[in-house]
Symmetry: none
Subunit: 223 residues, 4 copies
Amino acid sequence: MGDTQRQRLEAREEAILAAAASLFSESGVDGTRMAEIARKAAVAEGTVYLYYKNKHELLEAVVDRFWRELTKGAKAAVTSNAPLSQQLTELASYHLHSLIDDFKMVEITSRARQRHGEPGRQLPQIREYVRVFDLIMQRGIASGELEASTPAWQMRDVFYGTLEHSARTLVLRKQPFDSSVIDNLLSLFDGYRLKHAPAKQDSGSKQAALELLQQLESEISRW
Amino acid sequence: MGDTQRQRLEAREEAILAAAASLFSESGVDGTRMAEIARKAAVAEGTVYLYYKNKHELLEAVVDRFWRELTKGAKAAVTSNAPLSQQLTELASYHLHSLIDDFKMVEITSRARQRHGEPGRQLPQIREYVRVFDLIMQRGIASGELEASTPAWQMRDVFYGTLEHSARTLVLRKQPFDSSVIDNLLSLFDGYRLKHAPAKQDSGSKQAALELLQQLESEISRW
Amino acid sequence: MGDTQRQRLEAREEAILAAAASLFSESGVDGTRMAEIARKAAVAEGTVYLYYKNKHELLEAVVDRFWRELTKGAKAAVTSNAPLSQQLTELASYHLHSLIDDFKMVEITSRARQRHGEPGRQLPQIREYVRVFDLIMQRGIASGELEASTPAWQMRDVFYGTLEHSARTLVLRKQPFDSSVIDNLLSLFDGYRLKHAPAKQDSGSKQAALELLQQLESEISRW
Amino acid sequence: MGDTQRQRLEAREEAILAAAASLFSESGVDGTRMAEIARKAAVAEGTVYLYYKNKHELLEAVVDRFWRELTKGAKAAVTSNAPLSQQLTELASYHLHSLIDDFKMVEITSRARQRHGEPGRQLPQIREYVRVFDLIMQRGIASGELEASTPAWQMRDVFYGTLEHSARTLVLRKQPFDSSVIDNLLSLFDGYRLKHAPAKQDSGSKQAALELLQQLESEISRW
DNA sequence: GATGAATGAGAGTTCATTCAT
DNA sequence: CATGAATGAACTCTCATTCAT
């Protein structure tokens, strides 16, 4: 019975989140009243406040949930044993599809970052999501598939930033998808790829790279 | 006398815009009351409504003004006779600097795009700004400095998106600037650059490219 | 417990109406702020809007309530078994007294009828009130106490209009009442009264009149 | 040239009054902004305040003008040498027509009477208009055409009030006119008319009546 | 006298949040 | 835990009125 109880609570929480997500997407954050969310979630207004301290926390939870779901998919795209280029392709495809489909959520995310006086904060789940992109870059470097001279975060910025901006472009053009964006990005990434076997690595850094690689693989495998 | 009158009106409008811009940046859009803006601009509350129909239109005007100023600077960075790579470097540097310095404005921009039921609209001045990036890519293609097989808008997405995302990264790390981001981006763009003189172009497309180039140069020179 | 709840709601609604009525009468509609009404009714400002969508609807409710109360009194004056002339006297007396006592309400009523673009509307409760006057005229005609050649509504206009205008006259003169107005009106109504037994009525119309009379009596008895 | 100046001033004043009257009728007093009136009158906003201290005084002026015009027509209807009943008929007809045609003005009049704290005031021009009705009743009494036992003001209340109320009835029914209302009223007034020559009046009161009659006739002739 | 930009008090209204039931 | 009526601070916006030109 305690289980039933807990399940009911979680179902309620999920209902509120889903209602809020759909209304925020549809009418914007300011255009959505707490009363509407409660009605759509079939709970009383006050009940929402039992689960979330205020509207902003609810907004953050909605955004969090969105990126958590996204993170799951991104991890799945990257966990295979396929070669790096294929994994990048899959991740890029997944990312671009997701951003286009839920572009409203991307905008709402930037809304969630803005809080009264504070400077723009990074929400934890987004950090986690971006971390998937970082890890794949780091692994590429560690495995020697990507050159080590460019920091992983810069490759990630190219990868992530390009796709985000292309998503905006495609959404504005009302195009549902464009795979050539991914082709272009991947061929660009060839510039980062080592053409030859990684020459002349001194054994110290080689060792370090191997350890890092093992660490990364282990982290990825825990997903 | 008409001049003095007009000047006073414009000064007032500018004062309101400046006040709004600074307060929106400082406290966010929701955290700023129309009364505050009026006080900071040293006008009466009602006066603001003489110039802008409501808070949202004022917000749009603030955002518009920001991107208009940015556009001026971007055009300046691109108007020289310097080689493409140097122009790209300058544009990238200007863009990255600007986004970092006024990162709040970037966030506010996404706020301005969100209006009640409407989907995310593109504000005209941003379009104009992005157009500067498009033009330099198009010119590079027309002049044969960039390969023609990748659409200009995709190169632009890489260029613009990478820098935007890097700006976010740097702001989150509280770094004021990082030139290596630009170096990285430029060296990546080598992948788009033709290594040899553009060989084997049939005379028809050559002719077309020349015409396009002249057209672009003429447009740029009019800035 | 539902009862207690409902009673509290109704008490609150009544408190708001009473507060509004008294303030509208005292200071006029424009001279009364919603905040004042809320304070006088001992509720929060927002609470008023829980019961009435806006100031105009509150005004209409106030006016409605006034005429509903008036209607009750008017019906009581007319329900007796007394002869027509006595009932008319009582109704006239009640009407005149009421209009004089709450003359402000009569003026406010005309204010309630005016809404932005719309032409003057007839508020339902006033129609109901006037209907009491109509019914007594119709009954008089049906019973043969009043001549049938003048339409009931014209008799009613004489009756109602004269009293309303006399009320204005008396209020302007600051007289609390003047029974001679009623005497005059009643003696004038002798002109409508059949001096003899209704002669020469053909049996058909007689029958119709009887049926109408029964119908009217039945409607009145249901009050 | 002074004349031209004065004429321009008067033309302006008239333009403002006309604009206000038409807008008040069309959109109600609250629904009309001073700026609209100024625009329609083709003057600047501030100019209106050179002629009228505030909106309420402008409203009063509009109402005043309306009743002044009405008074002219009413006097014309009554100045003839025709017998009383015919004069009454003409006055009633004129009154009823006017009220129906400009019913909005009647409502606006009651609006003009309401000022913040004050009780309902009588506007001077309405008093003047009603006075026309009083005078014809007084004259009828003095000339012996109406019985002296009912005060003139009561007869006037019957006459005026009935017509006013009938006007409302007809407006609500969207009827442009109904002459039977006047027939009914006139035949009712037969109840006030002396059937025989005024018998047995003592010479004193007879003398007084004659003097009053002369006085009234003189006043009427001065119209 | 005429203008119309500027004023600013004050209005109605909203809605996130609370709390007695 | 759940409710939803009640709250009231704070908002945007209006518009009659003023006054420098």
